[in-house]
Each structure stands twice: as C-alpha cells, then as structure tokens.
C-alpha cells in the first residue's frame, strides 16, 4: 500500500507534482496525462530517486526516503537508465536475480516462461543491452521487474515502445500476475485503449495534480477521450 501525504516537488519554481492525499492499494492502477503532467516525476518520488520539497511517500507505512526496506518488494522500470548497458541480457537477469535471492536456475525457469514475450530477440542474442533496440531494451527492463516477484510494480509508459503483439502479451501477463497474488501495479501510458483495458483504477494527472480518480467502467474510455480532445 502506497500512501502519499502533501507531496510537492517543483523545478525552478514550476510545480511538477502537487498531491495532497493519495492511497494506492492492490490492483492495476493507471496514470494518464499529457507530457509534462508530472507522471515520471511522481514515479521517481515513489522510488526515492528525487527529493521532495514537501511531504512524504509511505510504502507500507514506512517513509521511502528514510528506510530502504521498500526495495525488497518493489520493482520498477522507468527508462533505459534502469538497465546496465554493458551487460548481456542474461548477465543482467542473473545479476538482478542474485540481488533478489534467486539462483541461476530460478531465473532460467522464469525466463523460460517469458519466451513468447521475448520473441527470440533477447536471450542468446549475442549483444550487450546497449546494442538492443529500444523496444527490446524495454522487454529486458520489464522482465527484470517480473523476475523480482514484487508486491509493487511501477512501469512508466511500458506500451510506448512495444510492438502490438508484445503489448497484448504484456497486458495478459499483468492480468495473470494480479490473479496469482495480491499486488499493486502502477502503469502510466499515453495509450488510452490499453489503459482502460488493463486498469481497474485510473488517475488523471494535469500539471502535477490528480484531477480525476476513476474506477474503470465502460464509460471511462469516452470520459478520457473527451478530456484529451480539448
């Protein structure tokens, strides 16, 4: 459970995030908003990668900036800054696995389950991560998150760089995950169709403020499209 209290972050006097009260529990939660709305900054604040000007983020009631315990059950992928570029995908997976107490065999097993998602271009590719295409880098990042079997998973625009088949596979994987165990998946996207398909709750962000907090229904897609049509 993530709790946000009076969280404010500004850059050069311009407000990037300003959220007075927000609780995110289990389920798939979507975050939408135009560019510059503050989505990525919010994610960074949740992961203690940015210092808040005011307020705090609590993960299971512990302040993320005072305590490193949240790292145990949280996995995230924001951009290629989360990957180690000079490793091969396998080396990176084993490294992440090791950090999370998974042996090589465990990792191999999980990777085998991702074969269709990888589509043959990730494992045994003979390339370092820095030489993979952007879409494949994203796949590596997402797979690394899944390896950790987290309780909280944060993905920043995961659909953006994936081809249509991979997008559909990712949606299926996320839905399957949620069925298996209670967890929080926080996803941001520009793709309104995917977001309304996969998320049970959608937060609409504008200029750093959450202006709408919707429970997804059949009307949600129209509601969002109306908002963005302006």
């Amino acid at each position: 459970m993530i709790t946000i209290n009076n969280l404010v972050k500004a850059y050069n006097g311009k407000i990037a995030v300003n959220i007075s009260n927000l609780e995110i529990g289990n389920g798939i939660v979507g975050l939408v908003g135009n560019n510059g709305a503050g989505k990525t900054t919010l994610f960074r604040l949740l992961l203690d990668l940015v210092k808040a000007d005011r307020g705090k983020v609590l993960s299971n009631e512990k302040n993320v900036s005072e305590n490193e315990g949240w790292k145990n059950y949280t996995a995230a992928y924001i951009d290629e800054g989360f990957l180690i570029p000079y490793l091969t995908p396998e080396e990176y997976f084993y490294f992440v696995g090791k950090l999370n107490g998974r042996s090589k065999a465990d990792v191999d097993e999980i990777l085998a389950g991702l074969k269709t998602f990888f589509d043959g271009s990730i494992l045994k590719s003979g390339k370092y991560i820095r030489d993979l295409s952007k879409g494949n880098q994203f796949k590596v990042g997402i797979a690394a998150c899944l390896l950790q079997d987290p309780e909280i998973m944060i993905l920043d625009e995961p659909f953006a760089n994936l081809d249509p088949s991979s997008q559909i596979r990712l949606i299926q994987m996320i839905k399957a995950l949620i069925k298996k165990k209670p967890m929080t998946v926080l996803v941001s996207s520009h793709d309104l169709n995917n977001i309304t398909d996969v998320c049970t709750r959608i937060l609409l962000m504008e200029k750093g403020i959450i202006i709408k907090d919707l429970q997804t229904s059949s009307d949600t897609l129209n509601e969002l499209e109306d908002y963005f049509r302006v």
């Binding site: 960074r44 992961l47 203690d48 990668l49 940015v50 210092k51 490193e68 790292k71 145990n72 949280t74 995230a76 924001i78 951009d79 800054g81 989360f82 990957l83 180690i84 570029p85 000079y86 490793l87 091969t88 396998e90 080396e91 084993y94 490294f95 992440v96 090791k98 950090l99 999370n100 003979g126 390339k127 370092y128 820095r130 950790q148």
Partner: protein, 332 residues
C-alpha cells in the same frame, strides 16, 4: 590528434606510442642517440637558416591533409559503426565465493573491461607499474630518499585507484537510477566499491614486490604504501566520490578524454598528498625515515581494520548527497 584517433580504434597504438617514447628516453639515457641534442640542433638551425621553416610547414600541411582525408572518407555514420563480433556472457566463477560483493565486483569488472575509457585507465595503471625504475633509481637508493620512494610506491600501487576512484560512482551514472531503486542496500553497494579498490591495490602491490630485487629496503616501503592505500586512501576516495555530481558517458572513450573532470579531481589528488605527507613528515623529520614509513604502515593497517566503521560514515555521506548525485548524473 592522429594518435588520439588511432588509439580510439585500437589501443595497441597507445602502447606503441608509449613504447616509442620510452625507447627515445632510454636511448637518451644510455647515450646512444640523443634526441635532446638533435632537436636542439634542429631548432637552432632554424634560427640560423629561416628557410628550414618550410620543412615544418610541409609537416603541418601533411598532418592536415591526413586528417581531412580520414574525415572525408568516414563522413557517413554507417561507416563509423563497425560491427563488433558476437558478445558472450561471462561468469567470473572465482568471484562467487565472495557472495554479493563478488557479484558487484563482477559487474564493475565488466564495466572496466567492456568500456573504452576505464579499460584505458586499467592499461595505464599496468604501464605505470614500470615507473618504479624512474622512482627507485640507484642514486636515490643510495641516498635513502624514503620520502620520494614512499610517494612513488603509493602512486605505483594506487594509480588505478586514483584514476578510477576519481569517478567512483560517476562511472555508473548512466544507470545510477536503476541501482538506487534496485534491491541493494547502499551500504552493500559502497562496500562492493571498497572491495574493488582493495583488490586492485593488492594486485598492484604484489606485482610491485618484484622491485624488491632492486633493494630490500623497498619492500617495507611498498608494504607501508599498500596499507596506506587500502586503509586510508580507499576510504578517502569513497568520501570524495560522494561529492562528484558530474555524469560520465561510458561510450565515449579516448586516451585524452577529460569529460567529467573538474575541481573535485584536483582537490582529491591534493588531499591524498597532504594526508600522506602529514603522517610521514613529522616522524621522518623528528625521528628518522624508518619511523615515518612505520607510521604510514601502522596507521594504514589500523584504518583498514576499522573499515566497517568507515563504511557507516561513508554511507551517511552518500545518503546526504544521494539526490544531488541522482540529479547530476541524469543530465547527459
């Protein structure tokens, strides 16, 4: 410029460059061929016969032509990317026994070996091991110039730490976000770095022991320098590392690449010198040189045994500066 360009393509050119310089210097030393006298004669002859200037102009034009020909040929981006062979995943099994620190060191080792710039630094450190001949000359040994030897020994065993440690955390600036959000305690991360620095100093030390053949007196000095490096120098390197907020682009590599250097780096070298001198000089001047060496060695050992305590302090500093580092490293 020519050498710089060629060294990017193939670092053997750099070795050749250094070997050439060494040969010329050696030739000078052994009075086989004196470049000094030759170049003096050349330049004085220019003042006598102005026409010789033309030769220099011809060289300049030749260099310009060589460079522009290269640029013209390689102007298209696709020619610049050479397809480098298939990459293999490597597993350093000998590091497995060190647990998580072995894993971190494996990642750091791969950083050094697979990226041009840190690889160059490692190479330089290996070449620098031979500088002992410069520091430990027979005249100095006869004069018991221990201060000079100590300085040399610290440099020889610690050059990699100096070169690499300047950017200790900045090397990973490209993926610092990921590291900080990963399931890794910051204390573990820093301890992994200390482990790396200690290992490299120790390997350099063991190799440098060969200088013991020049004089047995060098062995205790090298020991003291090694203890100083792993005990005090390594810790200082970590502290200073937490103040470096400039990112580094690993993909750019060249022998003469100064990206990311700033005042912090000069401050760093200065601080190490001051600390070393502050320990050695009082003893050396008041008692005798050997006591100075002993002081350095003993203090280094004590500091090394206190490493866990230092680790906590460094972690606190790191936490304090973490956000500035994250922000600075994100700017590419």
């Amino acid at each position: 410029m020519f050498i710089k360009r060629k060294t990017i393509l193939n670092q053997w050119w750099l070795i050749g460059f250094f070997v050439a310089i060494l040969l010329v210097a050696a030739a000078d030393y052994f009075q086989i061929f004196s470049l000094r006298n030759w170049s003096a004669a050349l330049f004085t002859s220019v003042t006598n016969i102005p026409a010789i200037c033309v030769i220099f102009i011809v060289f300049a034009i030749a260099a310009w032509y060589n460079n522009s020909k290269f640029l013209r040929k390689n102007f298209y981006l696709e020619n610049l990317e050479k397809s480098s062979g298939e990459k293999r995943s490597t597993d350093y099994t000998f590091l497995r026994r060190f647990g998580v620190y072995g894993d971190l060191m494996a990642v750091d080792l791969k950083l050094i070996l697979r990226n041009k710039r840190p690889r160059m630094l490692a190479l330089l450190a290996v070449i620098f091991l031979f500088y002992g001949y410069f520091f430990f000359k027979p005249e100095n040994i006869a004069n018991n110039n221990f201060g000079f030897f100590l300085f040399g020994a610290i440099f020889i065993t610690g050059l990699f730490m100096i070169n690499y440690g300047q950017f200790l955390f900045a090397w990973q600036s490209g993926h610092f976000d990921g590291l900080m959000a990963s399931n890794m305690n910051i204390k573990t991360y820093i301890k992994g770095k200390l482990f790396l620095l200690t290992s490299f100093c120790t390997i350099a030390f063991l190799l440098s022991l060969l200088y013991g053949f020049l004089s047995w007196k060098l062995i205790p000095i090298l020991c003291a320098a090694w203890l100083f490096n792993i005990g005090i120098h390594a810790v200082l390197t970590c502290f200073i590392g937490t103040r470096n907020y400039k990112g580094l682009d690993l993909t750019k590599g060249a022998a003469f690449n100064y990206q990311g250097t700033g005042a912090a780096q000069w401050l760093y070298s200065f601080v190490i010198l001051i600390v070393g001198a502050a320990i050695y000089l009082p003893f050396a001047l008041l008692i005798n040189s050997w006591s100075g060496i002993a002081a350095i060695g003993i203090l280094g050992l004590i500091s090394f045994l206190m490493q866990d305590w230092w680790l906590d302090k460094i972690t606190m500093q790191f936490q304090k500066h973490k956000y500035k580092m994250l922000e600075g490293f994100r700017e590419k």
